[in-house]
């Protein structure tokens, strides 16, 4: 396979990944790494580098439309980015000392979790509690547009959410994924924010989280222009298309399909690195 064929195939795969990632709110990165590793046999470090930059592209591209529509909460994003950037730098620094096998295993676990996450998506108990005092101090409560007009929401359990965000940051730095599933977990399940606010704010934060580890990866030589080029050019239009569909589409079937793809990739990666020839 020559570079031209390789680039075209990677481009097509990345486009699909970006589209599905945006629709399910998980981000394309979580598929890009296993896709490059298990389908094309790319070294996981190159795959992580390419995925990381594509994650920044997706986040910035989609976030601007979510921000303007009033879904993403700038302050919640800003506050939790403190946790994710710290985590991401730690993760990227650790990555150098972790063996490729261990990295693969962690990625597989993150994939399985992401699949589980997009599979269940249960409605959380909607308790209109009195606003948390820390949330009020940090001005984390806000409004978001719904078909019935603007709705108010409150943030709860801030320290716990902050803690989960550090973990999300470490995973992002370690694996070059946006770790959107963990960010949404922190905001939707722990802090009790509306699902749409959680997914869009998560998307908004992913760019900064990824940029934090991108610096480390760049100096280590993980970011290859020849590989990152088709990945970015595929993921970006895919994600933009997905972000526009997200607002109105019914996504149940896609969710299930996507989580199945994630599971298959996770098991394939485990098989290849532990049982298979490699």
């Amino acid at each position: 396979m020559n570079i031209l064929e390789f680039s075209v195939l990677v481009w097509a795969g990345s486009f699909t990944a970006g589209f599905l990632g945006a629709i399910t709110g998980l981000g394309g990165g979580v598929v890009i790494v296993p896709f490059l590793v298990s389908v094309f046999g790319v070294d996981i470090r190159y795959a992580v580098g390419a995925s990381l930059v594509s994650v920044i592209a997706t986040s910035c591209g989609a976030a601007s439309s979510y921000l303007k529509k009033g879904y993403a909460n700038l302050r919640i994003g800003m506050f939790l980015e403190v946790a994710t950037t710290m985590g991401a730098i730690m993760g990227a620094l650790i990555a150098a000392y972790v063996s490729v096998k261990a990295l693969t295993l962690v990625l597989a676990i993150a994939l399985i979790y992401s699949a589980y996450f997009s599979w269940q998506n249960q409605p959380k108990p909607d308790t209109p509690e009195s606003p948390d005092s820390l949330a009020t101090y940090l001005k984390l409560n806000g409004t978001y547009p719904t078909p019935d007009g603007l709705m108010m929401y409150h943030a709860n359990s801030i320290p716990m959410g902050f803690g989960v965000m550090i973990v999300a940051g470490v995973l992002s730095g370690l694996l070059g994924i946006g770790s959107g599933a963990f960010k949404v977990l922190a905001m939707d399940q722990v802090m009790g924010l509306p699902f749409k606010v959680s997914t869009t704010t998560s998307n908004f934060m992913i760019g900064v989280t990824a940029a934090a580890s991108a610096g480390v990866y760049l100096t280590r030589g993980y970011i290859d222009p020849g590989l990152a080029m088709p990945v970015i050019l595929g993921v970006l239009p895919g994600a933009l298309l997905g972000a526009n569909v997200l607002i109105c589409a019914k996504t149940e079937i896609l969710r299930i399909a996507f989580s199945l793809v994630l599971l298959v990739m996770a098991f394939k990666m485990i098989y290849q690195s532990f049982i298979g020839a490699g």
Binding site: I3, R45, S64, A212, L218, P225
Partner: protein, 195 residues
């Protein structure tokens, strides 16, 4: 909802009025950090506050413009618009650079074999911002792609720097400190990795 009721006294259209009130609640609570319902009552009392609002686009998003007075800080919604635009332009610039560099790269190297199975690490010129710029100046095609990637990485960093400036203008010191922490982390990841 009492929020809607009292506002009906001021304006006939409940849907529009409701959105004004909600937006107002948001701005007020962001400015002072008090809960929404108390503020709503507050708004009802000094209804002349509504004069500062102007509805520009009813059909889309219920956008409400806040007329800034000279001393007052920028509207949070406007801030979101600016940041949204910044992100857009960053992505457009970087993806055009990547596209141009990519086409040139494929024309030159398209028929060479692929080798990403073995990790060698990038050459020194693709590992630092200075090296990338030197690479572009000396006419390396992959250097153009790498420059596009750098612009892309810089976009969220710029976004953080920009929000930091906005928080300073709003005299929101808690968020100024938080934003600085994030910015420090981002700068560290580029500078610190050299040592």
């Amino acid at each position: 909802m009492n929020r809607v009721n009292f506002i009906k006294l001021l304006k006939p259209e409940p849907a529009i009025a409701n959105s004004i009130c909600e937006r107002k609640v948001r701005q007020k609570s962001e400015g002072k950090g008090v809960s929404g319902k108390e503020e709503c009552g507050d708004v009802a009392e000094n209804d002349n506050g509504l004069d500062g609002y102007e509805i520009t686009d009813l059909s889309r998003n219920f956008q409400v413009n806040y007329q800034e007075s000279a001393t007052e800080s920028a509207n949070p919604l406007q801030l979101e618009q600016w940041i949204g635009n910044l992100l857009n332009y960053g992505v457009i610039l970087s993806s055009s650079l990547v596209l141009v560099g990519g086409v040139l790269y494929l024309i030159r190297h398209g028929f060479e074999p692929v080798n990403y199975q073995m990790f060698q690490g990038e050459p020194a010129e693709f590992r630092s911002p200075v090296g990338v710029i030197q690479g572009v100046l000396s006419g390396h095609r992959r250097g153009i792609i790498q420059l596009g990637l750098l612009v892309l990485i810089a976009t969220p960093i710029l976004r953080v720097a920009f929000s930091c400036m906005m928080f300073i203008r709003q005299r929101d010191w808690t968020y100024t400190v938080l934003t600085w922490l994030v910015l420090f982390g981002l700068i560290y990841s580029f500078v610190g990795a050299y040592y």
